[in-house]
């Protein structure tokens, strides 16, 4: 996940929107089409790699991430995945869209697919981890710096110290899985932070928990 998606704690997004109890899942029909296209389309790459999809979301530019709404963002990310695997040509979607509205356009030829050489070892994201967990509930841990490339370690917890609340089932590691470089399953911990540790002494008083992978953590004193 890159900086554009890593918005926990960021300023500038304004007020939240009060819930509407009867809101439908899709505000407009195209959102449902984009939803289904994304779920099916990502499965045409190599495995149904949700981490690769999330990494594609995180590599969108500002407009592609924010301006088309949630399902527009999905559409843009699956288009990126399909283009990178040469399942569709760069510009193919825009060219077809222009043709659909009556413009005279030359559509690019269909390329030869170049998909990642990867297949998941099992369905889903949970995996057995052979080694015992490094940390136990009650242990103090510190979140390491955010690595370059795909990760599920958000900036707002990086460098901060919390306490392991529970050990969750092992997961394949998004950092490598997102780029089709292996599952590398790890233990995952729910880590609890005090709000003042994250945001300073003037913060509202509350606790926050987040799931952190083993390699995101180091022991704290």
């Amino acid at each position: 996940m890159s900086a554009i998606a890593d918005i926990g704690g960021a300023d500038g997004y304004g007020a939240v929107h009060p819930p509407d109890r009867d809101e439908p899942p899709f505000a407009e029909p195209w959102e449902g089409r984009a939803f289904a296209l994304t779920l099916l389309g990502m499965g045409r790459v190599s495995g149904r790699n949700l981490d690769a999809f999330r990494y594609a979301l995180g590599r969108l530019d500002h407009a592609a991430y924010f301006d088309d709404g949630y399902y527009g963002r999905w559409l843009n990310a699956v288009e990126l995945m399909l283009t990178e695997s040469a399942i569709i040509a760069p510009g193919a979607v825009d060219a077809r869209a222009r043709a659909l509205r009556g413009e005279q356009v030359d559509e690019p030829p269909t390329p030869e697919p170049d998909k990642p050489d990867y297949a998941p070892t099992a369905a889903g994201s949970l995996r057995e981890v052979p080694d015992p967990p490094r940390f136990a509930p009650g242990d103090s841990v510190r979140a390491l710096p955010v690595p370059d490339g795909p990760t599920k370690l958000p900036r707002y917890v990086s460098g901060h110290t919390g306490v392991v609340e529970s050990v969750q089932p092992g997961h394949l590691l998004p950092d490598t899985h997102a780029v089709f470089k292996g599952e590398n399953p790890q233990h995952v911990y729910t880590v609890r932070f005090d709000s003042r540790e994250l945001w300073g002494p003037d913060a509202e008083t509350f606790a926050l928990t987040i799931e952190l992978f083993d390699s995101y953590l180091e022991p704290a004193a």
């Binding site: 998606a5 899942p25 984009a34 939803f35 979607v93 077809r96």
Partner: protein, 194 residues
Amino acid sequence: MTTERLPASLRTEALEQILTERGLVDPGVMDKFIANYETNVGPLNGAKVVAKAWTDPDYRERLLAEGTAAIKELGFSGPQGEHIVVVENTATTHNVTVCTLCSCYPWPVLGLPPSWYKDPAYRARVVREPRTVLHEMGLDLADDVEIVVRDSSSEVRWLVLPERPAGTEHLTEEQLVPLITRDALVGVAKVAAP
């Protein structure tokens, strides 16, 4: 060189057409996906889970210990439900869930996330000033209630077991279900007595 952004609706139609022509997606399968989330998979599932937990102490215990398995007992499972952890809201502790990095959400019990949950404002702010955010959403908590924000950064999905409101002791499981809202199951509201 034009930099015009084409509407997402038009680009969706274009991608569907391209992939359909190539036999890579089946529009009929897409229709079924969409209809499933429009009609079957929604917060009514979560409401049924909670109503059962409120009226069946053994089920409540199983739900809090092994959420995924207890939820599956009622027939609810599927994508975004590999490992669901249920946390209980009480008079003294209030859990509220978010996914700051995307909008991860327990689909089998809540359906697809509502717009406010996907909104960058909610994602960015509820991990920093949850009391203020909850107030803006219409929920004022007493100062001595501990708030616990649950940021869903892995495949673990959180479901809130809301507090059963006073004055509902005489209601049956079936009568409780319609009182239980999506917002209470995420933790941005409480369940109100009828």
